[in-house]
């Protein structure tokens, strides 16, 4: 009981994730800044920002639905953290596991997006509403390729459980190379999920101010930002567990190092993509997802079906 509580609240749960979130945010900002030939923030900047926001006054628009407006960030925050417990991080068995947990993780990762929509919509600001609609429109575009490519991997492993998948790939060490295309697709989809350039359409500053976040301030904004950072880590861990399933059978210390390297790799890749592309328009984004990503994801699915039928 005490151990579970420790696991949930401290390691590898809430506290550990928050600490990671600061580190990841710092690395992302620093790397992004260096790519743009800037100096970038000092290491404590994300913590300083967080403390500043917590200390700030919270302003809720008079017309907003207060309950929905304030609950949305918390929902997003807890959903991201919950998803983390089901992902094998540095050992084959995650904290919690059952058959079909991969579906639950994907579902839990969708909740922050929906929470953002609800928060944006109920803040009643025009900009936030446009942002909210864009968030959901975009969700329908990137979720499909993401789901197909993740499930293609699960199909090859013949399991709906993340830990069994990890076990399968540990038994077939080089098979993960087959799924590289799926990894690329998921990475792009993850950019959409995290609303980062070129898919930062729902919070496009020069068009709709800050989109769904326009009316958020103080603690609520701090939680929102934190949940996005955590979502980044959880998303990166999911990609690492599904597409880069090696090093899980090592000793805990070595496994932990491999895990950190994998997460950093994914996070820095995301920053790189953010730095080299311009923001797309919503119609272009949807076109791109449905016309490029979905066929590629289906090709991955087909490839895995054939592989499975013929070789394994």
């Amino acid at each position: 009981m005490l151990l579970t509580l420790f696991n949930i609240l401290i390691f590898p749960g809430l506290l550990f994730l928050c600490a990671c979130a600061f580190v990841v945010e710092y690395l992302d900002r620093k790397f992004y800044a260096r790519l743009q030939n800037r100096v970038g923030p000092p290491w404590f900047q994300p913590v300083a920002d967080f403390i500043k926001l917590i200390a700030k006054e919270e302003v809720i628009p008079a017309a907003a639905n207060v309950r929905m407006f304030s609950v949305a960030p918390l929902v997003a925050f807890s959903a991201s953290i919950t998803a983390f417990f089901y992902i094998p991080l540095w050992k084959i068995n995650p904290l919690l596991s059952f058959t079909g947990d991969i579906i639950v993780v994907l579902y839990l990762l969708t909740i922050p997006t929906l929470a953002f929509f609800i928060g944006g919509w109920y803040s009643t600001s025009l900009y936030a509403r446009i942002g909210a609609v864009r968030t959901v429109t975009q969700m329908f575009a990137y979720e499909v390729p993401l789901f197909i490519s993740v499930l293609a991997v699960a199909l090859l492993a013949d399991s709906w459980s993340l830990s069994e998948m990890a076990l399968f790939y540990a038994g077939h060490p080089w098979l993960w190379l087959v799924n590289l295309m799926g990894f690329a697709i998921s990475l792009v989809a993850l950019l959409g999920k995290l609303e980062k350039a070129p898919f930062d359409i729902p919070e496009a500053e020069t068009e709709i101010v800050a989109g769904i976040f326009t009316e958020y301030s103080g603690k609520l904004l701090a939680i929102l930002r934190m949940s996005i950072s955590i979502e980044t880590i959880v998303g990166a861990s999911l990609l690492a567990a599904v597409f880069l399933p090696f090093g899980l059978a090592l000793s805990p210390a070595a496994g932990f190092c491999v895990f950190i390297i994998k997460i950093l790799f994914v996070v820095l890749l995301l920053s790189l993509l953010r730095a080299v592309f311009a923001r797309l328009r919503i119609d272009q984004m949807i076109d791109f997802c449905w016309k490029c990503l979905v066929p590629l994801a289906l090709a991955q699915l087909l490839l895995n079906l054939v592989l499975k039928g013929v070789f394994i």
């Binding site: 790519l35 743009q36 509403r129 101010v209 119609d283 272009q284």
Partner: protein, 412 residues
């Protein structure tokens, strides 16, 4: 947004896409813009009226402050008109120096624009790169004139500062660096897929519409309208300098971007030519304090397009009338046209593509005094002494600064 037929979204007076206060009210249907309502005038400072109450030489500095980006454009345009009325023959060296500063200003303005354009389409890396390189030209401007903006180089009858061999070397070196960087930007703009996706086919202004709506500057030139005051109605030293008027037939934001980056390349050539052929001689002629009665219209190709000043003199120390038409005002109709049936996401880049400068467009000095909430008018002397006091309280003493400056000038 099922009931969104009359979804009106305010963009401005305060909005991140606009760096200055103007209001665009967009009627949206989904993401599509059905109508645009533009309200200008938030920045009207009554500079034209203020000019009538000041002497010509004070006006040069006031006019220079119409706009921070194209300050030299406005001050040159104004002094040209005054010189024409007074019948002053400005020394050739002064004309070359004006041209030089004008082109340096164009470089800084176009690089600034490139950065802003990058930001508007969510490509901040381009913003950071372009503005980093813009520092090079800002440093050169500071070297030549002592200021990064509002150079104060013009005076009636010539320029106030000469340029020496060392400065020429530094400019040439900077031009080489900038040329190399510009080549890289041309490559980025013409080859990077997401940029092209966001720029091509956006904000279309056909050749006929550009003519009909009197578009000016790069906006017109990107629709193949060969309209450039520098070659049509040469002023300063442009009549003696060979250069190409850059046009493009894309008619869209992409075309405007291409025109601007190519104009950068032309600007480097103009600067090199001007420095190579810089005539010797004095840099100013003495201008009378009282300008004889008369009128003159002066045109100038500012980085944003044609700048028109009309000055009427009545034989006294103060002008009778000064009229300023900044390029952005001429392009407002074109923007209205370009935004129709476009997407909300295109709004900011379409507006940015004319390189709007609303402080140029609007020209009353009205200072809000926060202590007693109502608006208070501060006259010129008060604001002057206030400025000196403010800095003195913070340890900056201008009398000392002036002395040191005089010493430095004496050393040269």
């Amino acid at each position: 947004m099922h009931d969104s037929h009359d979804f009106k979204i305010p963009v401005g007076p305060q909005h991140p896409a606009l760096k200055e206060p103007e209001s665009f009210s967009l009627a949206l249907k989904g993401e599509k813009i059905m109508g645009v309502d533009i309200r200008l005038g938030y920045n009207h400072r009554g500079i034209e009226k203020a000019c009538e109450e000041r002497s010509y030489i004070q006006d040069v500095y006031l006019i220079e402050r119409i706009c921070g980006i194209c300050s030299h454009a406005h001050s040159t345009c104004f002094v040209q008109a005054v010189e024409e009325i007074a019948g002053l023959a400005v020394p050739r060296r002064a004309l070359y120096i004006r041209t030089l500063v004008a082109e340096l200003e164009r470089i800084h303005s176009h690089l600034l624009w490139l950065g802003v354009a990058g930001h508007e389409i969510g490509f901040d890396t381009l913003l950071m790169y372009a503005w980093r390189d813009r520092e090079i030209v800002m440093d050169i401007l500071a070297l030549l004139t002592g200021n990064r903006v509002n150079y104060g180089i013009n005076t009636i009858g010539g320029v106030r500062r000469d340029i020496d061999a060392d400065e020429i070397q530094q400019i040439l070196k900077a031009m080489d660096t900038l040329e190399e960087r510009t080549k890289y930007y041309i490559e980025v703009v013409t080859e990077e897929t997401t940029i092209i996706e966001r720029l091509a086919g956006v904000g279309v202004l056909s050749h006929d519409d550009a003519l009909r709506l009197d578009a000016v500057g790069p906006t017109a030139r990107a629709s193949e309208v060969k309209r450039d005051v520098r070659s049509d109605d040469p002023y300063a030293a442009y009549g003696e300098i060979p250069f190409n008027v850059i046009t493009d037939n894309h008619n869209d934001v992409y075309g405007r971007t291409v025109v601007r980056v190519k104009e950068l390349m032309e600007a480097y050539q103009i600067i090199r030519f001007a420095l190579k052929n810089l005539p010797e001689g004095p840099i100013e002629v003495k201008a009378p304090r009282k300008i004889p009665a008369g009128e003159a219209v002066s045109r100038y190709e500012a980085p944003r397009g044609e700048n028109v000043h009309y000055v009427k003199a009545n034989g006294t120390e103060n002008p009778e009338r000064v009229k300023v038409r900044a390029p952005t005002l001429a392009n407002v109709q074109a923007v209205k046209h370009m935004l129709k049936d476009r997407f909300l996401a295109d709004m900011s880049i379409v507006v940015a593509a004319i390189d709007p400068c609303f402080s140029c467009t609007d020209r009353l000095i009205s200072i809000k005094n926060l202590d007693n909430a109502d608006t208070k008018i501060i006259n010129w002397e008060e604001i002057h002494s206030y400025g000196i006091k403010w800095y003195a309280e913070r340890g900056v003493d201008f009398s000392d600064l002036n002395k040191r400056f005089a010493e430095r000038m004496g050393n040269r």
